[in-house]
Symmetry: C2
Subunit: 203 residues, 2 copies
DNA sequence: GTCTATATCCCGATAGAC
DNA sequence: GTCTATCGGGATATAGAC
């Protein structure tokens, strides 16, 4: 195996990385299907044909964006699942996981949420990762209900409510760049976990 | 103005209504841009050219789906805003508004959430309706914090958390058709408003 | 109101010069 | 590694027969 040296551009990325990041930004704005290779080429200041010296296909770009993110979530959940902390702290760790990943890859989160159905070869793999993630999440909530750390409501509704909020963070985080990630994770955790009703009781 | 009589098909819809409803279903599965007029024609068992006897353009279909829904939400919010009930009851009414609209037009909600950016002439109008809706929502939360009905957290985070959950209902409601709408609205309201932490206090 | 045929344009991707 | 030129196909939409 030979060492490879890559010329990096002014932002410290290889051309391939630049193309993928730019594609993610365009996919966020219009969705995978509405972005053409000519759009993407214009955004990185080359001709469409030249893109193919760096990537195999449009589909190849989508795969790179989505699969790496889905695996980041899977790995994060695995760590949280096996950690020795309270259920409430596990939920706070899940909130932080989403906040951190969304901060460092805001554009990619849009594709993960909205364009996964355009995956071809990797569709089944993606769906299995997502299914496992949701199952792990709902198990954490169920065990919290058993230990009475969590109010006894429908576990799927609780999971859905928290997860859809976390999945939508990418839409909203760019407007709130005055909040740093610790502050945001704490605020969001308070709202999602402790609720908003000032009069609510623990009964 | 002359009276018009329309032949209705076996499901009691005009052909135009059937086309729009079928389009909404396809848009939910793949997004507006990835659905072709040939796909839509096949789904309603005619040829693509024949669609144009009922609708002006593909864009015309998207406009019909999104604008009517956005106006339903605007009207619902207007009623809630002016009603003389507690803030918590206003929030519960917003939850019910979303549950009811999502139940009767699940497919359309996907376009409202994901395909609004493909609106052409009506884009600005849609954006103004959405902006007003969110402003009304956050005002309700702020007044609830003032009256101490709502815990003193960041109002935008509270609004975002509740609204993204409600906007994502269309993804999840079809899997939960065992719950009727009153049950669902109550469960969801409990989780969103009272939170999930069994140990949380009102301090 | 549905059909066939077609106009016009744009898509993803490749070939090959430089 | 980027370019020009182009292939083959599929997109929305129209024209006009029935």
């Amino acid at each position: 195996m030979s060492l490879k040296f890559q010329l990096l551009n002014s932002t410290g990325q290889t051309r391939k990385q630049e193309i993928i990041k730019t594609a993610a930004k365009l996919f966020k704005e219009k969705g995978y299907s509405a972005v053409t290779m000519r759009d993407l080429a214009k955004a990185v200041n080359i001709r469409a044909a030249s893109l193919y010296n760096h990537i195999d296909s449009k589909q190849d770009i989508l795969k790179s964006i989505i699969i790496s993110l889905a695996e980041e979530f899977t790995n994060g959940m695995e760590t949280i699942k096996n950690s020795d902390v309270s259920i409430i702290d596990k939920l706070r760790a899940i909130v932080s996981l989403h906040v951190n990943i969304t901060i460092h890859n805001t554009y990619g989160m849009a594709s993960l949420n909205n364009d996964w159905m355009h995956l071809e070869d990797q569709l089944e793999y993606y769906l299995s990762l997502r299914k496992n993630y949701e199952e792990d999440f709902v198990e954490i909530i169920k065990s919290g209900i058993e230990t009475k750390e969590i109010r006894d409501s429908n576990p799927e509704i609780i999971m859905f409510s928290i997860l859809t909020t976390l999945r939508s963070l990418y839409l909203w985080l760019p407007k709130k760049d005055d909040l740093n990630r610790q502050e945001l994770a704490k605020n969001l955790g308070d709202v999602l976990i402790n609720g908003i009703n000032h009069q609510s009781t623990t009964a």
